[in-house]
């Protein structure tokens, strides 16, 4: 590791965004104000285009055009294209048509305002399927079939992180940038000496004893965990990760999965797909050559065994 003794901690800004927390790190403190302005601008644009909880968002207004081709902004078209790309790449394990499944499970408003214990039963239905979304990004048109509710969810946040990091780094040549939205992070430009030091655990808000620290020098790193955004429904615990094949929460195999990939979108998609895939996830991730850390659980305890694949650093370096 280069020059760790003389390492200067990156400059930092953090603020609430997209129902979570945005964190910005840059290698030059003087660039921080303008970088934060760009990040806030990107996040506001993504929220206006992709939020499922804003009736005036562009994606919610698509409902008025259900079953017919509708014009979409370049930003929403690009976000949809990314969502469809990762849906295809994950074989549908991450699917933007799970909106109705989310509503059925009770995730029908911003999580802070959610009823955390509803007694009425759930009748899960499989997601309609991403392949039903007809997108022509170049023409700026999309056809969403009647009865399909889109939920770009974490894909849109990860896309915002990728866009913002790239835009900030391009605007300030030579600047190293890390953007994190709710613990899913994108990097651009040169990393600090020793890389970006990233703690990895169940919760992006605080490290727990034993959480490992890894050095990231490029690309994205994302973590999907069922320990966050969970609530009770009809006497059982459900959460925000849905198996599109059933419309229900996946079998509880992995508690938390972290993946490194070329971009934050790809890392997020792989981490979420691994939670959905369950026992087959380590082999699937290894087949893709994606470095990952998977933490299992037995549904009631936090005792876990971490599995690492495809070059993820072996256990050690824990705090």
């Amino acid at each position: 590791m280069r020059g760790l003794a003389a390492r200067v901690a990156p400059a930092r800004a953090a603020f609430p965004a997209l129902g979570s927390t945005a964190v910005l790190l840059v290698t030059d403190e003087r660039a921080l104000p303008e970088a934060e302005r760009v990040l806030r601008d990107e996040l506001a644009a993504i929220d206006a285009a992709c939020s499922r909880f804003r009736p005036d968002s562009e994606i919610m207004r698509l409902a008025a055009h259900a079953g017919r081709a509708a014009p979409v902004s370049p930003l929403l078209a690009a976000a949809l294209a990314e969502a469809l790309r990762v849906a295809r790449a994950t074989g549908g394990l991450v699917d933007p048509t799970v909106g109705q499944s989310m509503l059925d499970l009770g995730y029908d408003r911003d999580f802070a305002a959610l009823d955390r214990d509803r007694p009425d039963p759930v009748h899960p239905r499989p997601a309609p399927g991403w392949w039903r979304i007809m997108l022509d990004a170049e023409a700026g048109e999309v056809l969403v079939p009647r009865g399909v509710l889109l939920d770009l969810g974490a894909t849109a946040k990860a896309y915002a992180a990728d866009r913002a990091a790239d835009r900030i780094a391009r605007a300030a040549g030579g600047l190293g940038v890390l953007v994190s939205i709710g613990g899913d992070l994108a990097t651009a430009g040169p990393s600090p000496d020793g890389g970006w030091l990233v703690g990895v655990g169940d919760d992006h808000r605080a490290a727990a004893p034993g959480d490992p620290v890894v050095a990231v020098t490029s690309g994205g790193l994302a973590t999907s965990s069922v320990t966050q955004r969970s609530w009770r429904r009809a006497g059982r615990t459900v959460h925000h990760i849905v198996d599109p094949r059933t419309g229900d929460v996946p079998e509880p195999v992995w508690r938390t999965v972290s993946v490194a990939a070329r971009s934050c979108v790809d890392a997020n998609a792989a981490a979420t797909a691994a939670v959905v895939l369950g026992r087959a996830a380590p082999a699937w991730l290894a087949g893709l050559g994606l470095a990952a850390r998977l933490v299992g659980h037995d549904a009631t305890t936090v005792t876990a065994t971490a599995v690492t694949v495809a070059g993820w650093p072996a256990p050690g370096g824990a705090r």
Partner: protein, 95 residues
């Protein structure tokens, strides 16, 4: 008209009727072929309208006209390394 002329005329009319029937049969067969080709073409080119309702979980070969390219998740240029420090700049975790 003598009887032989009347008989020839009757034969001519019968032959004309058979020719007309043959033409109709051939035209019908040709029309069926054209219709079959047209239907085949139509169903091989799924229209946007066919995605009008959500009632199936079976994937098709279409889906997107753009944006569907790139069928894999990409590896990073460099995988994360074990950090020398235990003091993180940032935390990645569930949200």
């Amino acid at each position: 008209m003598d009887p032989s002329q009347a008989r020839r005329l009757q034969i001519d009319r019968r032959r004309e009727g058979m020719r007309r029937q043959r033409r109709v049969t051939q035209a019908t067969a040709a029309g069926a072929v054209v219709a079959a080709v047209a239907f085949g073409w139509a169903f091989a080119h799924e229209s946007a309208a066919s995605a009008g309702t959500a009632d199936s979980t079976q994937p098709s070969q279409t889906g997107t006209t753009t944006g569907g390219a790139g069928g894999t998740l990409r590896q990073p240029d460099q995988v994360p390394a074990a950090a020398d420090s235990t003091q993180a700049d940032i935390q990645s975790g569930g949200s």
